[in-house]
Amino acid sequence: MTDRSERYAYKPFLRTQINLLCSGTVLLPAGFAVWQGVAWGWHWQLILLPLAMAALAGYSHFALHRYLDAIGRIKHVLKKCRRGEFHHRVTRVHAMGEVGQIAWELNEFLDLCEAYFREMTTVFTRAGNGEFHRRALGHGLPGQMRNSLKYANLALETMKENHEQQLATRLSHSLHDLNTGNLVSNLKLCQKDMVQVTEILEDVVAIADANANAASESKAGVDEVRRSVRDIAAKVASAARIIEDLSANSQQVINSLSIITEIADQTSLLALNASIEAARAGEYGRGFAVVADEVKALSNRTKEAAVEISKILQSFGDSVDAISKEAGESVALAERMQPLVETFSTRFGEFEQASHRTIVQATNAQETSFSTLVKVDHIIYKQNAYLAVSDPEANVDEGKAIAVDNHSCRLGKWYYEGTGKERFSGLPSYRKLEKPHEGVHRSAHRALELAHQDWKANRHLIDDIVAMMEKMEKSSLEVMEILNQMNEESIARRERQEQESSQASS
């Protein structure tokens, strides 16, 4: 102990005094008795007083040393207090009067000090660990101590507010960082989809353009064909009229020929008559001359008839010429139509193919845009999760929105019941979607549960919440990637089927 104050410490003066007093109390009567005995002779009574005094001194010595001992312990405790140890007490000071009272006053003063310091220490230690619900308890403490604890509580209140503010900012910062990073990459995925849809639609527009051009060319062809057909019809009609004439003419020929036959008959009869007459009246030869006149007249008529026939035949030939000419023109028309009709057929083939491709591309575009819709829905789910988790009390609706499970959200319905199942269930990546999707919901639910707890009093909770949201994002990234895969696989499958069917048809 090199305490500076020690140098000024009193020597244990009381102890020496007591020792001196007790020794005096024993020695003085003893000396007096010895002196008396030497001077006046020994007597046994001389010993009584020194004995009594010795007993008294002995008792006093014992009792005073108990007090001294207690005072020593009080001093010891006070010394410890000066070194900052308030947990020592002075016990067993029973029946020591004023000394005992001092000891108790000291003890109870120390009780107060210790209670005060413990309150201060625990309260601030726990506040340091983020436990602000523990306030300093001032009941039973006197004036200044109690006041001081009141101020400590005020300080704690401010600390708590700061801390909560800090935690709130920390949570919202972490969530915000996590969200922005992921939101951007999510939106990029959607953007990629939209680019794809746009490209596909450009294709579709190009095909439709080509179709329109081809259609207008085809229309010109169709007009020509229509004109040709009208011409052919006119030509055929005039041919029909010619044939009618022809048939009327041939009737006349038939009539003329029957007259000729009649004449020939009468001529042969007359010739017979003439030969008979000539034989019977040789001298009557003049009758022969009459017959000869008749024959001459007949032959004239025959000549006329023949002329008529030849005329008719002449016009007949003309008609046939006209017909064959018409027929020739019709053939030429038909020949001109042939290539037109052929281009038509190839055009229509092209049309058919183009509209097929249009259908395929339009289906691809539709699927991709639906996949984007599902993704956007998924992103909205996550945004709701961020809102709900960052402040569950203020964002009750968002909390309700994310409470659904992976079967009842839009993606879930699409996947388990709707178009998703119908179109994609045969694809290899279809099955892979279920697990990460369920994971997204599970993590979001867990994060919200944690957010409902008192995270302001527990900074580890914030880390847990952020970790849960990170887990959600990880699962969500998988969901997005698998959706992309499904889309790609479906498009590839459709192209393949398209190729196969076009090979089969050619």
Binding site: T91, E108, L137, Q453
Partner: protein, 175 residues
């Protein structure tokens, strides 16, 4: 072991500014008790020093609560709780107890220190039926250990349904 006092239905009230202090060693033997403690419990210093603190244990107190007390102290944490204590003459008094470990400079626990303050009546009304149910559960179970475990489970469930723990519950009741 001295004979335990027979409990009687007579309450002694702690004054609003009164303050019971006691200290024990690591095993729970009393090393110091202040005068308010002695006055209220009716025991003298000589009867208390070196004696287990359960000398004032009241039979209405569930054992599970003391298990919680010691478990908390073993973790070097402070304990808060409402405790019903038994006086030498059989009467009882309610306190709001705060017990903290005495930790020396090397971080070792060298003893425990306890401050007890007046317990608000509303708080006593709240904890009394809970303690009664816990004691009933403890008595109904097959053994002491099972009883404590069951009563602890009961308390745990009750607090969980209120989204709190015993310390927060007690501090809130104290106000």
């Amino acid at each position: 072991m001295r004979e335990r006092p027979v409990p009687k239905d007579q309450e002694i009230k702690l004054g609003e500014e009164e303050f019971i202090v006691s200290k024990t060693d690591t095993t729970g033997k009393i090393t110091y008790a202040n005068r308010v403690f002695m006055e209220i419990s009716g025991y003298g210093e000589r009867e208390l020093l070196g004696v287990q603190h359960n000398i004032i244990r009241h039979p209405d107190m569930p054992r599970a609560l003391f298990k919680l007390l010691w478990d908390t102290l073993k973790e070097k944490k402070e304990f808060f709780g409402f405790v019903k204590n038994l006086c030498k003459d059989g009467s009882y008094y309610w306190v709001f107890a705060n017990i903290t470990p005495d930790i020396d400079n090397e971080g070792r626990v060298v003893g425990y220190y306890s401050v007890r303050r007046q317990a608000p009546i509303s708080a006593i009304r709240t904890v009394e039926p809970i303690y009664r149910e816990m004691v009933r559960i403890e008595k109904g179970a097959g053994g002491v250990k099972q009883g404590i475990a069951k009563a602890q489970g009961y308390l745990q469930d009750l607090l969980q349904s209120k989204r709190t723990d015993y310390e927060k519950f007690a501090l809130e009741l104290y106000g």
